[in-house]
Symmetry: C2
Subunit: 168 residues, 2 copies
């Protein structure tokens, strides 16, 4: 599952995608955020082959999204619960949900996020926490940080050039 990705292993998107950017991993995380914890719950929910499910659960544990917790001693059985980092993935899944509701909900809304006080449909958008402005309003750009290596610097120069040329 290693990505060459312009010879830099530093890209934060690639690092996340390598750990959770797989159809089954993303669906397991969705189910975990719905409260599912047990192997059979995930298997039934997703209709996934047991060997694939076991592999993805192990990888999500190793990557730090899930942790094993025993729920039965005889027979010994573990369930899978979200770590603090796994719960921090919730907003990413809400952003994915909002995208799906905007573009793929041709029958209308089947599920969504609501304000529990008012019952109003929420509209998840991604903003800069400091300014409150939407990250896609044209006033933000990708840039290299202090830990960038040569390939990352070259990539960010390419991005800046594409932006200047109006190609983004």
């Amino acid at each position: 599952m290693r990505i060459s990705e312009f010879d830099s292993s530093l890209c934060p998107v690639a690092r996340t995608v390598e750990r959770a950017g797989d159809m089954w991993s993303l669906m397991i995380l969705r189910d975990a955020l719905h409260g599912l914890t047990r192997f059979d719950q995930f298997r039934k929910s997703l209709g996934v082959a047991p060997n694939i499910l076991a592999d993805r659960l192990t990888r999500l544990v190793e990557a730090g999204f899930l942790q094993r917790r025993p729920y039965s001693r005889r027979p010994p059985r573990d369930e899978y619960v979200l770590t603090e980092m796994g719960r921090d993935f919730r907003p990413v899944l809400y952003a994915i949900m909002a995208f799906g509701n905007r573009h793929f909900a041709k029958e209308g809304l089947a599920s969504g996020l609501v304000d529990t006080e008012t019952g109003a449909q929420a509209e998840p958008v991604v903003v800069d926490a400091r300014t409150g402005r939407r990250v896609d309003d044209g006033s933000f750009a990708l840039a290299a940080g202090p830990a960038a290596d040569e390939p990352m610097l070259a990539r960010m120069a390419f991005v800046a050039h594409a932006a200047e040329a109006g190609r983004l």
Copy 2:
């Protein structure tokens, strides 16, 4: 790539994940948002086998994220550019980037989003557009919408029960 997912095909997360929730598809979308358009650019960037790249590009075109555009007549060659829907995926990738920077940037920040006016590091977070509140502040919950079918209603009841029991 079909997911059984509790016998409902209506989940907006599943619909998006089925179309773009694959390591290569996500990395191609990242590269497209960096300004890459040509087959060889994606191949070099990602180190991906040509047959896999061709398959993922075709799927992203069919799903509506990318469109083909001819850039050479002799020999005939197409490049791949983001559709309006594809560009709307940008905030999702920024949310993934922010997650990666929070959890996997052990060397420090290699790349991130900056405010082009001030140069300040942006901090992408997911909020409700109406209220400006963060979607993970505990005041939002998943709920069925008008187009929910029986499996979706059952799932949302499960989620509500898990939330009441303090298991989310």
